[in-house]
Symmetry: C2
Amino acid sequence: MFQQIVDAKNRLKGVAHQTPILSSRTLNKMVGAEVYFKCENFQRIGAFKFRGAFNCISQLTQAQQKRGVIAFSSGNHAQAVALVSKLLGIKATIIMPSNTPQVKLDATRGYGAQIVIYDIETENREEVTAKIQNKYGYTLIAPFNNTHVIAGQGTVAYEFLEKVPDLNSLLVPCGGGGLLAGSAIAAKGLNSNIRVIGVEPELADDAKQSFESGKIVTIPVSKTIADGTRTTALGHMTFPFIQQYVDEICTTTEQAIIEAVKFHLLRMKIVVEPSGALGLAALLSKTVKAEGKIGIIISGGNIDPPILQGILGE
Amino acid sequence: MFQQIVDAKNRLKGVAHQTPILSSRTLNKMVGAEVYFKCENFQRIGAFKFRGAFNCISQLTQAQQKRGVIAFSSGNHAQAVALVSKLLGIKATIIMPSNTPQVKLDATRGYGAQIVIYDIETENREEVTAKIQNKYGYTLIAPFNNTHVIAGQGTVAYEFLEKVPDLNSLLVPCGGGGLLAGSAIAAKGLNSNIRVIGVEPELADDAKQSFESGKIVTIPVSKTIADGTRTTALGHMTFPFIQQYVDEICTTTEQAIIEAVKFHLLRMKIVVEPSGALGLAALLSKTVKAEGKIGIIISGGNIDPPILQGILGE
């Protein structure tokens, strides 16, 4: 799998951004450690999801590409599949829930994807998707349960450790586990001493429960502000990698997430979505011990203006 | 003066951040040009003012440093003088108006400066400052009317052109003219073909009036949202440099400034204060023609949360 990440890295060259790594003197002084942030909020479409989507869709057969792709997502994966498809000249259909904010519909449509809205009260997402998929022969691009997607996301940590090889620990947000699995494989492959820590909201702690019990635990849809981590369970493909390569999964409170978004915004001057701020939240709330060189992956920066307004008022 | 900027650059090495240069594919496509942003919102204290303050204060005589420094400012210059003084072990006194937001008082005090509040209704800032200055022998650190300060600010454009030498034009926000004067000298010194354009709000167009009439025009205090440009006149030291090295001064509407802050925030994922967004405002509102390689200096990112909330609601 490590080799697949190396291959993904070559595939993404000149297509994905090599996102910057930032640090903050103020933060380092506050926590007494050296903290580095890999800023995927500056990635195309504003989140790491572009990497996995490109690595996956670009490897489809010509026949598959000609028929088109389909995905279900209300968030960053939707925009990633839409943009990648546009770049590769492939038809994309995105299944989105009826409560998707207008800005996300517009952004996804802006990349030229066809959008199909399903009623979250009366319809089942998987059934809606399967029906369209079967009718047109589209290939489903899973948001995390796909080795090409996982390998693509792993390039985030790969790039990070190329620039800062001697990190003592790496904090990675965890939803379905694609970013965490890929990053853990890459990080351990480059530096076997690194401690890889997954971070998720207390309100959506399925990964922690799964990690500790040794089997995939499914929870009800969470109301956490970190919308990118509202997935109800890890994937059957991400979980084994997480078991093998991740050292620990920790959780943070909603208040800590809000404080972290504010710190990113007001002190570091960068816009980070709540899911992307999980690493800093864990550090600031001392869930993770601050020592040595700490790497934090900021997964994305797509935040709805009303949510951001609310956070600023806290 | 160009040599003084080179000297300032050496003086700032390892002390000021070499701020990143960012670009946006979305923006380049929208405007049909190649746009580069020099991000002084990532500078220490969140704005370019750190450079001028350090270049100036670090060159004071030992006797002057021992007595201490004084400055009047409600904004970024206050924090810059406070932090630089702390770094150099110098006592700093900052005169701030009674309507200064609490966050700015806290930030300035946080760097260890002594703050003296004057009543904007009944007291005169210059008199308050002069009285304290005379009593204690403090050296006044002017916000822009000082060659060392101007030279320090000029390092922004110097660093910018070292990385992107073939810029066709350079857009620089203009308040008292320190950043504009310094940047124009540096830019023309490195690339004589570059077109240097100052940008200020329509509501605070004293620099444009001065530039076009050939003498310093003073206007009443403006209510523009771009608080960094509310200075009522260019300095007698900045104006001659601006006359000699700047090609044009243009103005932008308040609405264009707000749109630019929102674009920086929601599309580029960076926090830029209204004054810092003037360059993008001029470009997006087509006040400046978009062609070739355009460099834009983002002067800072210190924005009060309630103001940011208001902008997000527009």
